[in-house]
């Protein structure tokens, strides 16, 4: 079984700070990490490999040359192969062009049975590339997967999180799923894995290698563009009070009643 996991290198957002003078994000010195949702995707691929036995886990990412680090950390966890889609020609890609490019990348890897993505990346927060890739490859797709109940060579049965609970969905393979945090607890890399990652060969995929349609990649292939970006106004802290419980309770109660939100 061939399992492909799509990952993205993102800034560790907990460290994102705002420069109070310029009002812009400070990203200097911010460590780049594997998108947390993609860690669940990698872990699930490894677990499926352990479950079915005969499987190869391939990791693919699209990004600048330094995204290689993210691929290496996936190898350290136990992935078998890693591929970096990287080319100046891909700069400025929106989610449409990214979906197209990643789909081309996956097609270049040969037969695939299951593609796993994290539900979204924590920098862009769009959750659009997973379903976009499924559509570009014309594969069946289930989003928000919180559990893989059963997997065989030809089908998978999963639990999909919805607002009010979950749905059990079965899907023929090949297919694509996006996973949520609840699906597993990712393992830590072993020392042996880290050694392997150091030596790992990362295959680089350029626009030419992917035979990508130049009209569909990068800025040119992207329907959307950023018109402007800005740092939102923070709500300043309002009133803060302390005191005896009855006093606090009556303050909260009158505040809530004044808001007129109780039906």
């Amino acid at each position: 079984m061939n399992i492909v996991v799509c990952i993205k290198q993102v800034p560790g957002t907990t460290q994102v700070k705002i420069n109070p003078e310029t009002g812009t994000l400070i990203r200097d010195g911010v460590e780049a990490v594997v998108n947390p949702f993609d860690e669940y995707a990698i872990e699930e691929a490894l677990r499926i490999k352990e479950r079915v036995g005969n499987a190869v886990v391939k990791i693919i990412t699209m990004g600048p040359p330094q995204a290689e680090e993210a691929l290496k950390s996936a190898i350290a966890l136990g992935a078998d192969e890693a591929y970096l889609i990287s080319d100046r020609a891909f700069a400025g890609s929106d989610t449409w062009a990214t979906s197209y490019t990643v789909a081309r990348g996956i097609q270049s890897l040969g037969p695939v049975d299951l593609i796993i993505c994290g539900k979204q990346a924590i920098d862009g927060d769009t959750a659009q590339v997973g379903p976009g890739v499924a559509e570009m490859l014309d594969l069946p797709f289930v989003a928000w997967v919180r559990k893989v109940e059963e997997i065989t060579e030809t089908s998978i049965r999963v639990e999909r999180m919805m607002e009010n609970g979950y749905e059990v969905v079965s899907m023929p393979l090949p297919g694509l799923i996006t996973v949520v945090k609840e699906i597993n607890v990712p393992r830590m890399a072993s020392l042996k894995g880290k050694m392997r990652a150091k030596k790992a060969v990362i295959t680089k995929l350029t626009a030419e290698a992917l035979k990508a349609d130049p009209d569909k990649i990068g800025h040119k292939g992207s329907p959307t563009q950023v018109f402007r970006s800005f740092v939102p106004e923070r709500k300043g802290g309002g009133e803060k009070i302390s005191g005896e419980v009855p006093e606090l309770v009556s303050k909260i109660k009158s505040t809530i009643l004044d808001l007129n939100v109780i039906r």
């Binding site: 994102v16 310029t22 994000l25 100046r88 079965s170 292939g221 329907p223 740092v231 309770v249």
Partner: protein
């Protein structure tokens, strides 16, 4: 395509250097120099330089959609669960009506379901000029394949300039597939929509980086311009029985639907009946609740207020409450009218999920808790004492 620094305008202030997320800009001889190998054309520097306007990004057009002028009207995808129209869809109708009026175009609602003719007729009363209803037994439940297929067909046939859908589990699952298929521009999870009337452009503003950065996205050369829109941000349409309009029913041939997935079971799992993304009030508990039994205090207050129950990641990770209640970057993003945070210290990730709430009350023992920085009303006190007393007080006054 390219990015360019106009040297006569650049004063070497280095604002762009600090704004750049990929360290692609250096100041050389008091002028900004952009390393094209690193630059990803994100436009952060263009924004940082708005005072001097020295940096411009030009785009080579892909040609995009042919005959953009053929695309007219604002379409709204109507989400339904078990034959009941979702709350977020009324919000889309309200916002869609406003956009259509600005453009002096029509508002079209697209509904997929089974035996929902009555609901289709009702959408006219909620602001639609035209309703296109696709009826089939096989459209009763959401499936990515059938919904993406039908809505893509709708786009090809009706050629709407704008398509709106709720940023719900359903909308964010299949709308990207529609966008992929029709090569439209899709902006996820918008919290604000505007129209540039002159250019006939939709401006979709959305949070990124867990709410630390807002980006306004446009789609100049492709149609339709598609946006998923966050719950509870837009005002719901108000029913007007005098409104009239046209309802078109397509009875869809089940054979024509290529559905590859099968729904085996649908399980409702939420402990209260209120969906937290649609709730007007949310009472949330965090690590400060101390132990699982104490989450009952949060639930009791929620019940008396008619609120949904939320939780921080700490409470969910400790196994006190299911993940479907988690608010924050790795859980749900909510914007209720009132958010009551109980024993939640306020991690960046949690605040990313609730900071756009209209009004925030935080109850925490620690006067220095970060949550107080965004709370409209901060209560420094012990949740174990305050919550039961508060619940009692509301029970008395609301007569429950």
């Amino acid at each position: 395509m390219g990015i360019n620094v106009e040297l006569e305008k650049c004063i070497g202030c280095s604002l762009c250097v600090r704004a750049c997320g990929v360290n692609a800009i250096k100041i050389v001889d008091k002028k900004a120099v952009i390393d094209l190998e690193k630059c990803n054309l994100c436009a952060s520097c263009v924004e940082a330089c708005k005072k001097y306007q020295a940096i411009t990004i030009t785009k080579e057009s892909s040609g995009g959609t042919k005959n953009i002028a053929d695309y007219k009207n604002v379409a709204v995808f109507i989400e339904q669960h078990e034959g009941v129209v979702a709350g977020v869809s009324y919000e889309m109708l309200g916002e869609g009506r406003k956009l259509a009026d600005q453009l002096k175009e029509k508002l079209v609602a697209v509904l997929l379901g089974n035996n929902m003719q009555k609901n289709a007729d009702e959408l006219i009363k909620f602001g639609a000029d035209r309703v296109v209803y696709y009826n089939s037994e096989k459209l009763a439940n959401f499936q990515d394949d059938s919904y993406a297929q039908i809505v893509s067909e709708f786009v090809d046939a009706e050629k709407p300039a704008i398509v709106l859908a709720g940023a719900s589990a359903i909308g964010r699952s299949f709308i990207p597939k529609v966008a992929a298929r029709v090569w439209g521009g899709l902006t996820a999870d918008c919290t604000k929509l505007d129209i540039d009337v002159e250019k006939h452009l939709l401006l979709g503003t959305r949070p990124a980086f867990g709410g630390n950065l807002m980006a306004t996205i446009i789609c100049p050369d492709h149609r339709p311009q598609i946006a998923t829109v966050r719950h509870k941000v837009m005002k719901a349409a108000i029913r007007d029985d005098h409104r009239t309009g046209e309802v078109i029913v397509h009875n869809v041939d089940a054979e024509a639907l290529n559905i590859r997935t099968t729904i085996v079971d649908i399980v409702k799992e939420v402990e209260s009946t209120v969906n937290i993304t649609e709730a007007d009030i949310i009472v949330s508990g965090g690590r400060g609740m101390g132990k699982p039994e104490n989450m009952a205090l949060v639930k009791e207050l929620a019940e008396v207020l008619g609120a949904a129950v939320g939780a921080s990641r700490a409470a969910v990770d400790a196994g006190w409450i299911p993940y479907s209640h988690q608010v924050g970057q790795t859980g749900k993003t909510v914007c209720p009218k009132l958010y009551v945070a109980c024993g939640i210290s306020g991690s960046v990730q949690h605040m990313a999920g609730m900071q756009s709430s209209d009004y925030i009350i935080a109850i925490n023992k620690d006067p220095n808790a970060d949550i107080f920085q965004i709370a409209n009303l901060g209560i420094v006190g012990d949740v174990m004492e305050v919550l039961p007393a508060l619940t009692r007080a509301f029970k008395e006054s609301l007569g429950k």
